[in-house]
């Protein structure tokens, strides 16, 4: 690991992730994107809540990081950004963390066009607590709290965030690392609210139930993914859902009360 080009960005290794987890791939994509976008790592603050994906930056990344309560990474990050606009503030979290318990914060951050980059790792369940059903779990999937299959529909988080007014929204998977990295670079160079969803395999909580190895799961993601406009109702829609140039929240707050 010492000779790895990204080694210098790590505080703690090895990671706490399960063998075959997609979080390592997401970590790599984020770090490579920061390099490519020319973002100063010393001026980057990572904020995360609770869940497997929240561990990607904390404690692993050798940068400022705030690891707070379940669902509350986005308001914490916004507090940082409002006070120190010159810092790059990045939230990393899971689907349960950001779209479940933190769903209201996500919606309003998108509406405000808050100047944050949010990376949501969507592993389809609450993995850390045992793989229980979450807001993104596909219908009929059995989980420990839906032993007879999930009776509910999943939320299309990327489309909701795009509809709420975010400047940039994209969804890729851990089987699309090139596209993911490009989306992250693009997002880092924009202002306003930027949301990148990464559908990821969870060998421990989902793969096991479906008798899929991590490699098979990634092949499945690759095969099921179809870009926006070409995706049918059974496909996993990937690509860009919003790419706008609207003023971000900081821009909107400039001049308030000063004239």
């Amino acid at each position: 690991m010492k000779g790895h080009p990204l080694h210098k960005y790590f505080r703690a290794l090895p990671t706490a992730f399960c063998p075959g987890c997609g979080n390592g791939l997401v970590a790599g994509a984020i770090l490579r994107a920061l390099e490519k976008a020319g973002t100063d790592f010393q001026k980057t603050v990572f904020v995360s809540g609770i869940g497997c994906a929240a561990w990607i930056p904390s404690p692993h990344f050798l940068a400022d990081s705030l690891h707070v309560a379940h669902g509350r990474a986005i308001p914490t990050a916004l507090g940082v950004k409002l006070r120190r606009p010159e810092l790059t503030v990045i939230v990393v979290g899971g689907d349960g963390d950001l779209a479940g318990i933190g769903g209201n914060h996500l919606l309003h951050a998108a509406r405000r066009n808050a100047d944050l980059l949010v990376v949501m790792v969507n592993n389809l369940v609450y993995a850390m607590t045992g793989g229980q059903v979450g807001p993104t779990t596909p219908k009929d999937l059995p989980t420990p709290t839906t032993p007879y299959g999930n009776p509910e529909r999943p939320l299309d988080v990327a489309r909701v965030v795009a509809a709420a007014g975010a400047n940039y929204v994209a969804r890729w998977t851990t089987a699309h690392l090139g596209e993911l990295e490009k989306a992250l670079v693009k997002a880092l160079k924009k202002e306003g609210f930027r949301f990148v969803e990464v559908v990821s395999q969870c060998p421990a909580r989902v793969g096991g139930r479906l008798a899929m190895t991590p490699v098979e799961a990634m092949r499945w993601l690759r095969a099921r993914a179809k870009v926006v406009g070409q995706a049918g109702p059974e496909d996993l829609e990937v690509g860009e859902f919003a790419n706008r140039e609207n003023p971000g929240l900081l821009q909107a707050l400039k001049g308030v009360g000063r004239g």
Binding site: V47, S58, H67, V68, R72, K81, R83, H105, R258
Partner: protein
């Protein structure tokens, strides 16, 4: 030129002005009666002074915005009332664990539930103390006049900075909306949090009375902040008993060992008292008025507590040594009275006097009547 000026303010405005005088430069909040005037005042004032104001989507977001802002070097505050205060307990627990300076004002109204929104009460005392899960301590202050609202807001902000802790200020609806003269010092003390000199652990301290230094984000410290159990450098220990013990003991002692410095109270004739009254908040005003009514009948000593946690125990003991009976009037079913009884330790008989609902004050006449009744 005098160094003092007179203002005519409601408790809520005095509180907001005190916070501004102490250097508060960040406010995030959610509107709720009877605290909203604090927020509205901040919405007008902060942008003019180069500060940040944001109306959040809820009280949970408000307090977490404060946590983020505080680590980004702000002096942050928010104000709320019972229902919002309940939601903020989650963030207050994280603020304790991460040692994040911030101020939460709870302008108490009638509860539980949504209760009576525009009516005064004192039902949140024990919530302010024990509202979070786990072992923790947060300093709690309570004003009993508009002047106190101003002075204690300054003291609360400075305490948050000095001890690197969240601080709670418990006001109530009667104080919030009562307009009074306030003397304003032109120069007020502004405490600043300790910063690391070189490589110091941001979550460890040799001296239990002194908080660890707090680094600023974005200055190359690679600071590792977590609400989970952590060592002095911020590394998480999810099962080590010793790391947890050391952390929660230090967090507790950081406040507890400074309780003398935190103790604010007003004592009126404690040594001569036949009957004592221990009161806080707007009820303290009725206690002072009741004492006048009883002049020549019973010698009444009054202890007005402005620090509600950790409690100033010595003046309560002093009162218990002199008085035969101590009356504890509260606009709740009896919350402070338990402590007074414990601290009095049998030296004086401690009697609760409760009144709840409708924001109806404990009137001086009925309090005086109650004193005569218990005095026999």
């Amino acid at each position: 030129m005098s160094s003092k000026e007179k203002r005519f303010w409601s408790g809520n405005i005095a509180l907001a002005e005190g916070a501004l005088a102490a250097g508060v430069d960040f406010y995030a909040g959610y509107p709720i009666t009877p605290s909203s005037e604090i927020m509205e005042h901040m919405a007008r004032e902060l942008p003019k002074r180069g500060g940040v104001f944001l109306q959040a989507e809820d009280e949970i977001a408000s307090i977490f915005m404060l946590i983020g802002a505080s680590w980004a070097d702000a002096k942050p505050m928010t104000a709320t009332s019972g229902p919002g205060f309940s939601l903020m307990q989650e963030g207050l627990g994280i603020a304790v664990m991460t040692e994040t300076p911030l101020l939460v004002v709870d302008v108490m109204r009638v509860g539980p539930g949504t209760g009576q929104a525009s009516k005064a009460a004192q039902g949140d005392l024990l919530q302010a103390r024990w509202g979070r899960h786990g072992d923790q301590i947060i300093p709690v202050f309570a004003p009993s006049s508009a002047q106190d609202c101003f002075d204690l807001a300054i003291f609360a902000v400075n305490t948050a900075e000095k001890l690197r802790t969240p601080v709670i200020l418990l006001s109530d609806e009667l104080l919030a909306h009562t307009w009074e003269a306030v003397e304003v010092l032109k120069e007020v003390e502004r405490a600043e949090r300790r910063r690391p000199a070189g490589k110091e652990p941001p979550f460890g301290s040799e001296d239990p009375r002194l908080p660890p230094p707090m680094p600023r984000l974005g200055e190359g410290h690679a600071v590792l902040v977590t609400g989970s159990t952590h060592d002095p450098w911020g590394f998480r220990y999810t099962s080590d008993p010793e790391v947890h013990r050391a952390l929660v003991h230090r967090l507790w002692e950081k406040i507890w060992l400074n309780k003398e410095e935190l103790a604010r109270f007003e004592a009126v004739d404690l040594e001569e008292a036949e009957v004592g009254i221990v009161a806080y908040g707007s009820v303290a005003r009725s206690a002072l008025a009741a004492r006048k009514i009883l002049s020549g009948k019973v010698r009444v000593g009054i202890l007005i507590l402005k620090t509600l946690w950790p409690l100033p125990e010595e003046p309560i003991r002093e009162l218990a040594r002199a008085a035969k009976i101590i009356l504890v009037p509260e606009m709740n079913l009896g919350q402070l009275v338990w402590d007074v009884e414990r601290i009095a330790g049998g030296s004086a008989k401690v009697v609760p006097f409760s009144k709840v609902g409708g924001g109806v004050p404990i009137y001086p006449e009925e309090l005086a009547q109650k004193v005569l009744e218990v005095w026999g």
